[in-house]
Symmetry: C2
Subunit: 191 residues, 2 copies
DNA sequence: GCCTTGTGAATGAATGTTCATTCATGCACT
DNA sequence: AGTGCATGAATGAACATTCATTCACAAGGC
């Protein structure tokens, strides 16, 4: 087993444990045990528990960003792009519930808040795709006349709330329901 | 100072501390100090930290439930009721950001999940008003044809996401924007 | 090929801290 | 002098993190 393997194992175990038990019920000792390494070993790959968590989040964000770009309809209409991204994000998290649970926890913790503040100060990432869409939409007078965070809330808020329930097993969604749901988000945003 | 005062002080301080610093950075000793009592005193009023947190959540839910009923347009149309509740919830949390932060944390913790499960099993509470509205709406063929949790997500998801940003100071909302926003939620839900 | 030595990854027991919770004692009011 | 509330030091458990030590292996000398 080489260096990369161990690092990947630790990250993977941390993701699973934290997603299922929360930050505070996932001691480093347990992460180490499940990853098949000694407690101290984690500190060869990560400076601290905070560092591990922040790295983990960064990796997930990258994966999602790439996943969105995979089949992105760069030449489509605003509406097509919007529906594509919503559907893609929704189905990604339906397929990766633990990623969702981890990120939810992350964004609802002190980590998430400072993270959010940095984003607002202009660092580009997966969200910037969505911001571009809205910006172009506004030029073409397609969406309602609301501040950007409000648009964002209308577009993604429902996804987040729905995913919570979906992942807890409170409902099932077939393809048609997904289509109708993302369309509903568009209805909220468009003028 | 009588019994009720102390209990109320403890609850109040706990709400403020937890909302601002999180469950895990709000030790009982600190709550006691800020409430002007000794550490042990809290245990005269609450069985455990868990009990304190659960009680606190219950009290907030009750307050919000009452607040919604205050001017509820019982004779209005489905749409009027929907817009009323959305506006009321939104403005309540805009005025009480700490209540929002507390409840967010609560629902994103193991407490929240079991709490949610219980709700699904039919215990009536503030949400049941909204469920009634949807139920009646469905009879009258007004909303889209989606499972109840999906409706719920379209109706409230945007509020939650928006409030997060609002409370962090990422945007401001005047009355007109609030009106437009709640209207947008309705657009998402209606057929 | 065989031995020696150097390197740095890996270990996990030990450390020091932070908490929730308890309880022996004090206090006030009856 | 008894009752019940309040106190806060003491307790013990749970952790994150450290570090002296072990171990595997490679490079270099013979």
């Amino acid at each position: 087993m080489n260096k990369t393997d161990k690092r990947a194992d630790i990250i993977d175990v941390a993701l699973n444990l934290i997603a299922q038990r929360g930050f505070h019920d996932s001691p480093m000792a347990l992460i180490a045990q499940e990853a098949g390494v000694a407690a101290g070993t984690i500190y060869r790959y990560f400076e601290s528990k905070d560092d591990l968590i922040l790295t983990l989040n960064r990796e997930l964000e990258n994966r999602i960003h790439e996943m969105i770009l995979e089949e992105y309809p760069a030449d489509g209409s605003i509406r097509e792009k919007f529906l594509y991204i919503n559907r893609k994000v929704l189905t990604y998290f339906m397929d990766h519930p633990l990623h969702f649970r981890f990120m939810e926890q992350f964004f609802n913790s002190p980590y998430g808040i400072s993270h959010r503040k940095e984003k607002l100060l202009g660092k580009s990432d997966s969200n910037s795709i969505m911001i571009d869409i809205f910006q172009k939409g506004i030029e073409e007078q397609i969406p309602k006349n609301l501040p950007m965070p409000a648009m964002y809330a209308l577009a993604f808020g429902p996804l987040i709330t729905l995913l919570r329930d979906y992942i807890l097993g409170f409902l099932r969604l077939d393809d048609e329901a997904i289509e109708q749901f993302t369309q509903a988000c568009w209805d909220a945003v468009k003028k």
